[in-house]
Amino acid sequence: MGDAWIVTVDTSVFEAALARSRPGSPAREVLARARLVHFTPACSPMLQAEIFRRLRLAGLDLDIVEATLNELAALALHVDVADHSDVVVRDVGDRFVVALAIVSKSWCIVSQDKDLTERPPESRPPGLSPPKFLHRLREKRGESPDSRVS
């Protein structure tokens, strides 16, 4: 079931889940649901390298960062986006994320970055904050709005 639901999880969600979140936070639940294959995260080497950079800057141990990325790699649909120069975004640093979402045919981008979640309404795929994404995912899966995964 999850394989059909490809989702691009932005670096900010990983950073929030690993370096910022409290137990039970939406960002943490996004990763918990990826682990349970409620959806399939899209992944590219650029995304992995950017997650690596941000988690290391947050002060996380190298082994934990690499192990986390190994886990992501094991769960993910791998897509290599060779060229993303024509993708239109507010922040050019987000180009590779949107390009990955387009090439992987992601249903949405989950992000805590407003440059991605507040893109014009016609933008595809849409950007959703972690709580909005979880709300939509619960609906898609026919779960109760109150259901939580940890």
Partner: protein
């Protein structure tokens, strides 16, 4: 290679901090005794003021001293032999803590000086008077230490050390990420992991990451709060 070093503070200034931390519990107990002396109301009030100022100073002094010693310790050998992202991240956090705790420390020392000077002539309780006279001998050193620490904090602020640390950290993280990208892009990359992390799933790793940051004493900013619609609050 850029070397980032934490500025030094003289031994005298550090001794002043130690003096505050050392004498404050004695003064607090003595001032408390004096403040119960019903026959000497002005002295009791002065002693109570001194007690309050010392009680409030102790955690501020300790906070500054711990952060300062931590920053100094981290900036010594590992950074002399070559910058290391993990050490720099710890140094950054300790430096920010020194900067954040500085004003509280200076205010506390000022408050001690004022309270002690006001209290001394009035103290009726012999034990309190004895300690207050002892403090009077320490006060000049404490006040000189305060001035030196004030100058040190101004120098630290003007030095742009945190910005310099951030610049080096960014460069090191870029280099590490580029090396990581090269490794995972190479054919046959082995996703092996150390023994202690084997079998850990994504959620367990998230929990370990949080524990790792807490163990290192690094700041753990909270995630944004959201309303029921999933919109970020504030």
């Amino acid at each position: 290679m850029t070397t980032v070093l934490f500025p030094e503070l003289s031994e005298k200034a550090i001794a002043a901090l130690v003096a505050i931390a050392f004498v404050s519990p004695l003064l607090v107990s003595a001032a408390a005794a004096s403040s119960h002396d019903r026959n000497a109301a002005p002295a009791a009030r002065a002693a109570a003021r001194m007690k309050r100022s010392f009680e409030s100073a102790r955690p501020k002094v300790d906070r500054f001293r711990v952060a300062f010693e931590r920053a100094g310790r981290i900036s010594k050998e590992p950074l002399m032999s070559g910058n290391n992202l993990d050490d720099l991240t710890l140094l950054r956090a300790a430096t920010l803590e020194v900067i954040a705790s500085g004003p509280g420390l200076l205010g506390a020392v000022d408050s001690i000086s004022t309270a002690a000077r006001e209290a001394m002539p009035d103290l009726a309780h012999p034990r309190t008077r004895e300690l207050a006279l002892g403090l009077r001998r320490h006060l000049p050193a404490i006040e000189r230490g305060r001035d030196e620490i004030g100058a040190f904090l101004e120098k630290l602020d003007a030095s742009g050390l945190v910005e310099e640390i951030d610049r080096v950290r960014e460069a090191l993280a870029e280099a590490e990420a580029a090396a990581y990208l090269a490794r995972i892009s190479a054919p046959g990359y082995n996703y092996a992991r150390p023994e202690y992390l084997k079998g850990k799933d994504l959620v367990e790793l998230v929990d370990m990451a949080r524990e790792d940051l807490i163990a290192k004493g690094l700041p753990l900013p909270v995630e944004p709060e959201y309303d029921d619609e999933g919109n970020e609050l504030g």
